[in-house]
Symmetry: C2
Subunit: 265 residues, 2 copies
């Protein structure tokens, strides 16, 4: 059994995703040699979480980027445009990857002939380590060289690696926003609503856990429960009445109930 290739890596960006990804790649045996961040504070924070086996260049100037096998740009979408405009001469035409679900691979064309995407589809929070093994990592590349690098990197941290085109990745991102960001907002609204009536919101947790646990055993359609899917007009009308003082919640309630009813019609 041959061990998979190890790469030297520079991170452009030091936010939540960059931090978790840098730690995971270091744990997989790759060498993080550079960290760029607009603010030294974030770069230093990331540096503190890495092991220093060899010197790591920490900088807030792109012109200080070290020479490495791969450059991973993990910054917000807006910052990515700025980074591309300011990309330094000495790092031109190196293997460059971005990590954004919603941006086309070709964004990177102006700065290199060898570019690709490594998109770990997960929700990252500061301070909470993520087990990358179970995270789906989607890859894309403009040439076989990059495809090998991005596959090697992805497979070294995750058991779920798939190649996906820029177009498909955008659809995936919409699905992820709906399933993850929007459901989380539902939790926030439900928690706030219960708190308003003096009911501890934590009592929803077992219910939420079970709703998601069911997803591993059946389709969401099969697992659907509640007044809207059983067509319980009395409950639906009572709930809408009770939400009279909560204009926005009422709007959500109506949109969901109508949509669920349609799905079970």
């Amino acid at each position: 059994m041959t061990s998979s290739p190890k790469y030297t890596v520079t991170f452009v960006g030091a936010g939540r995703l960059a931090t978790q990804l840098a730690i995971a790649l270091q744990n997989a045996g790759h060498r993080i040699m550079g960290i760029y961040s607009r603010t030294r504070l974030s770069a230093d924070r990331l540096l503190r979480q890495l092991e220093h086996k060899s010197p790591i260049v920490v900088t807030n100037r792109l012109t200080d980027l070290p020479w490495t096998d791969v450059y991973i740009i993990a910054v917000t979408d807006t910052a990515l445009t700025e980074v591309i405009v300011q990309w330094p001469q000495q790092a031109k035409d190196r293997v460059v990857l971005h990590t954004a679900g919603s941006l086309a691979m070709d964004m990177l064309k102006p700065i290199s002939g060898h570019y690709g995407v490594l998109y770990p589809m997960q929700t990252f929070s500061m301070g909470i380590p993520v087990d990358f093994k179970e995270v789906f990592v989607f890859t894309e590349s403009n040439c076989p060289t990059v495809q090998k690098v991005v596959s090697d990197l992805a497979l070294s941290i995750s058991n779920h690696v798939c190649e996906l085109s820029s177009a498909a990745r955008k659809h995936l991102h919409i699905g992820a926003v709906m399933a993850c960001n929007f459901s989380n907002h539902l939790y926030e609204m439900a928690f706030n609503y219960l708190s308003e009536y003096g009911i501890p919101p934590d009592c929803l947790l077992p219910l939420i856990d079970e709703t998601v646990a069911k997803l591993h055993r059946m389709s969401p359609h099969e697992g659907q429960t509640g007044p809207a899917c059983r067509g319980d007009r009395r409950v639906l009308e009572e709930h809408l009445q009770m939400l009279d003082g909560h204009t926005l919640l009422r709007e959500f309630y109506k949109l969901f109930s109508d949509s669920i009813a349609k799905s079970f019609a």
Copy 2:
């Protein structure tokens, strides 16, 4: 240490909730002595899942109900009204409980002077056993006698038992519908959307799992991620454009994004 009192119980209804609750109560040492269901099929199915230590009356006629300490009515809200109208003389004024999150306790007044509610807040699916220990069970009663019975029953199956008024329980039910039924519908829409573009929807599962895992460690507001909460107008507009052919999804996307943005304004 004295063991908690055991009761003889008749179930009116044999659906998902009745089935799981009957099994849990039997495991806790109570004796299920009667099962009523409008359809013999459901009643028989429930019967097959219980141990027969002593005879169990299985019937589709309310007038056949046996004489037991407690009658638990676990039917749909509409069916509950019918059951109350047809409640037989011989079971009048016994301890009667219903299990509905959305119905006032006083619904049961016409059939007994001793009534209450045992509401296990969970989403139940046929064939998948639920661990009641972690389910929040909300109780209510019209007199101390019933309060003792309903508390004994609830505490024998769950570690999370709370007394809650009918009014508060209705708010709780709205919160549960939002956090559970509506989030599940988001999953359905996201899964369908990905399938449409040939992306296996299962790749969303790690993301959904982590979103919910975070809820145990931080508030949903703290855990919110995505384009809407970071005010990423470019992504939001692109997504809305991509959803142009999906009128309903687009409506959801807009409502959620606006509401999340408001919550982070």
